[in-house]
Each structure stands twice: as C-alpha cells, then as structure tokens.
Point group: C2
Chain length 108, copies 2
C-alpha cells in the first residue's frame, strides 16, 4: 500500500532487513508496531513489503527528527528493537533520509 | 539483499509501486534495468523486494543529483519508464531523498 504523504520536505526511515528463520513471535509484534507507530505524533505514513525469502523493506515517514526520536524511545518499540537485534533479524540497515521531492501515479 | 553503501551523505530514490496483473514483459525488463543501473556512474547500490500481491519497493542509492538525472535520462531506461506508466504499474510513488545517517547489523 502506497502511503499518502504531504508535500516535501519530510523525513523517511528506510529499514532494510533480512529475517532469521521461523516466526518467533515476529509477525504479531510487527503488526502491533505498525499500529502503534500510527498513533505517534508526527507519523505520516508507512510502506512495508517482504518477499517469500524473508527480505523486507519498511519505509516509515515522519514530520521531523523529534517525531522519529520519540518513536525510537517508545517503551514498547524499545522492546521490539531489542528482540530485533537479538533474534528476528539476520541483518538490517536503517537509513534516516530527508525526502526532497516526489512524484507518482495514483491508482488507476 | 542489503546494499553496502558509503558514509552518508548520499542520495536514495525510494520507488514504491503496485504492479498490474500479469507479467507483460516486466520481469525481464526489471532485471535488465537493475543490471544497467549498476553500470551508471555514481550508482552506489540497490535493494528491491516485491510481495506475492505485487506490491514492491525498490530503493536505489546514488552519489549525487547528477547521477540520478543521468540515469533518468538513459535511453533504455526511458523506454522502461514509459512502459511503467503505460502498463506495468497500477500506482507508484517515487521519492528522492538525502540519506543523512545510518546504522545496522551485518550478517550473522
């Protein structure tokens, strides 16, 4: 699902990751984190996709750095991050980006 | 596959898209474009994932705006872009971003 975002500039967190084998509670927590993120001040949208080989990209969009810092420090999210480091991801990369411009084609 | 990129700053093009039904020559062209992009000056890496429902995110990383402009203007890529507008995508959004910082966990 493509996120509907405001006019740039705003921020994007590009989270590229490879899952370890087995669910280990991941799917439920991932769904919960997407729901929780949506309640955060400054949250603008999220796009998430994973292929059958366990490679995934989640891009979340935020109003400013302070919104991202608050989300990173959220208590429930902190637990999820720790489990990500400990068992859910075989590898990941998180890139904080400033969206400068955009264009696209709406659903046809 | 997580891209190995240099120290920020550099640029990212986040291309979020929903495929139309059927292949219509898409898979072969997509593979060809990934190969071609890798030969472009200023290309730093690419990460691409699509789920079974046809939603995909491709993030390509570039040295600077000029590298992105050259890639957008590449003759073969121009043909692919036109076919994307005409038949391959039901919707898409392309966001040009400046990567400001990053961190991650390498493969374990």
């Amino acid at each position: 699902m493509i996120a509907t975002t405001p006019e740039p500039p705003y921020l994007a967190v590009v989270f590229s990751n490879q899952r370890t084998k087995g669910d280990q509670g991941y799917a439920a927590m991932a769904e919960q984190m997407i729901e929780l993120a949506q309640t955060q001040p400054g949250f603008l949208g999220v796009e998430s996709v994973r292929d059958p080989e366990g490679f995934g990209i989640t891009v979340s969009y935020w109003k400013d750095e302070s919104a991202i810092a608050d989300w990173k420090a959220n208590a429930e999210h902190t637990v999820a991050q720790r489990l990500g480091w400990e068992k859910w991801y075989a590898a990941f990369r998180l890139r904080l980006c400033r969206v400068e411009r955009e264009y696209g084609m709406d659903s046809r």
